[in-house]
């Protein structure tokens, strides 16, 4: 008989104030064990990471570099989920503050067209047919389109989700996207088991 020594736990990466609250509450609501982790040394205690971005790319990357998180994320091999800015930072470069990002997924992050209402805010339809909640002004443009898992239409078709190896990212907010978001987070948790 197999005995599980601990139930898997998700780490929520906190790199500055204000970015973790709503994800943490969502995981609690879904009964997913989680803890806030502030230092890369705490990575050994968790089975996967959710990285909720907040603020601007420049400030966020600066924080990640100063705290040693940048290297820790680049060499992470367990399931990693970046949300919104958290997904954008996985790319090479962001036009927001002209920021060199983590360079895990090849491609650029560009600003939405001035012809659109910005930020792209609210519930938009995913290529899966479901509605999900978006709040962003920048959008990922992977060099290799095959890493795109989900799209949404806002002006053009935008990249709404990516996957490359253990790195997952969504431009929308699963922690705020009703039943669809709940299912997404539960699937990610399954992946961490």
């Amino acid at each position: 008989m197999m005995i599980r020594l601990h139930s898997p736990q998700i780490g929520i990466l906190r790199y500055s104030a204000g970015n973790t609250g709503s994800v943490q509450r969502a995981l609690t609501r879904l009964g997913i064990p989680s803890r806030i982790i502030e230092k890369p040394t705490e990575l050994k205690d968790v089975d996967g990471i959710i990285f909720p971005g907040a603020g601007a790319a420049g400030t966020a990357m600066k924080c990640l570099r100063e705290t040693g998180w940048a290297e820790a994320i680049q060499s992470y091999r367990k399931p990693f989920l970046g949300l919104c800015l958290g997904m954008q930072l996985l790319f090479d470069f962001s036009e927001e503050d002209s920021t060199q990002c983590l360079g895990i997924i090849n491609g650029r992050v560009t600003e939405l067209s001035d012809k659109l209402i910005k930020p792209h805010m609210g519930w938009n339809k995913l290529s899966t047919g479901d509605y999900a909640y978006f709040v962003h002004s920048y959008v990922c443009e992977p060099t290799d389109p095959s890493v795109i898992t989900i799209k949404t239409a806002y002006g053009d078709d935008l990249c709404a989700g990516v996957q490359q190896d253990n790195f997952f990212g969504v431009q929308w907010h699963p922690e705020k996207s009703g039943y669809v978001g709940d299912q997404y987070l539960l699937s990610f948790y399954e992946l961490c088991r």
Partner: protein, 493 residues
Amino acid sequence: MQVIPAIDVLDGRIVRLKQGDFARTTDYGDDSVSLATKYASQGAAMLHVVNLTGTKDGALQQDFVELVRRITYQTNLALQVGGGIRSIADIYALFEAGVNRVVLGTIIFSDPELVRRALLLFGPSRIIAALDSRDGEVCIKGWQECSGTKLDDAIARIQELGFSEVLITDIKRDGMERGANTNLYAQIRRKYPSLSITGSGGVRDIGDIRSLRDAGCSAVVVGKALLNGQVQLPQLIRASQSDLAIRIIPCLDVAGGRTVKGTKFQNLRDAGDPVELARRYCEEGADELVFLDISATREERDTMFDLAAKVAEAVNIPFTIGGGVRSVEDALKLLDAGADKVAVNSAAVLRPALLSEMAEQFGRANTVCAIDARRKGKKWVVLVKGGTEETRMDVIKWAQEAQKLGAGEILLTSFDRDGTKEGFDTELLSSVKECVTVPVIASGGAGSLQSFVEAVEKGKADAVLAASVFHYKTLQIRDVKKAFKSASYPVRL
């Protein structure tokens, strides 16, 4: 999908034909340049100009070329022009007048070799095919003659000639405002996936735009519906770009941990436990929630942090907390507790830098500027301190300033309408909306189902907020969404 407004010109006048019949024309004056300028200011990038005289007579007149030149000189619109083009010299003349792309129809059948040469000379991005179909058969010469060619065969033929884009008009629908022939476009799209299709004929509302987008059209030409003013270009463009849903937002005013509601910010009544209400609204299909703290004392205000945490654990939709937020520290505490966005009102009026500090710290997307507006003559002034104090600030100027400083959204409340159920102040909304690019939430005056739709249709709001009608179950969120759906707006059902 691109929305391309159309101007049809007959002997220098703007006209519309019914089903291509020169005996059934409606005249819209002779000022094509003004009309083009208006479409450009409403967000059009391209204009479709049809030379009806040329179509009828089979020749390109110098007068028409000069008209086109005036439009290209006086607007920044790209022009797509067709009608009566019969030679390479005609095409040169139009390009020389500043035209971006020419549309070839009749000569595809009468002189295919010339068409092939034009495509080689100018490339398929500057020469597009136009096929006008009546019951599956292609009509030519301004629809006065049938070519005897089936639409399907004609499409195969234009592809063979080297076209990559085709404008397909369903004559039976054109000028009839009965809706576009979506099935036709979807069929062609499936059969010829490499061809870009522009739909044309019969487009009357945003529902048609949406179904043409779903059918896979890359552009749509709209004529009569815009000329008649039955639909506005910005709405069509919006619908062509996305299915972004109109958000329905119940608003909970909270004092000392209880939901309350008054009229014009006075005579507060108890409306229940905020967490329970939040849960109920979430189940009923609310897209977002707003909590406004209207507590009088600091002690009461501290209960908001606790409330944010409880709500975040109770619902799976985003919510904004506002009221009493004075500093970035207050805002961060709310976000850490689980709020998604923080709204500031009086504090930002007193110290506008607060908006930039918030945007810098946690992003403009999470920074909401709430504005309470009171009508004063033809303008609106900003109110502070829960509507009790009037400032000298102009609402529109403040909204622009707030956007510039870092607000990612504006929650715009009409003090005059608040709690009256008389409908939203659509003039206030559209005036602000015209001057900002961030989303605007309509607030104050929610009454009938129609009033919600008007906030979006006339007020151009991106989201609609209401309190009493939801708290006291006068309206169900689902019914509001159905009303939007019947008006062809996308909603999350």
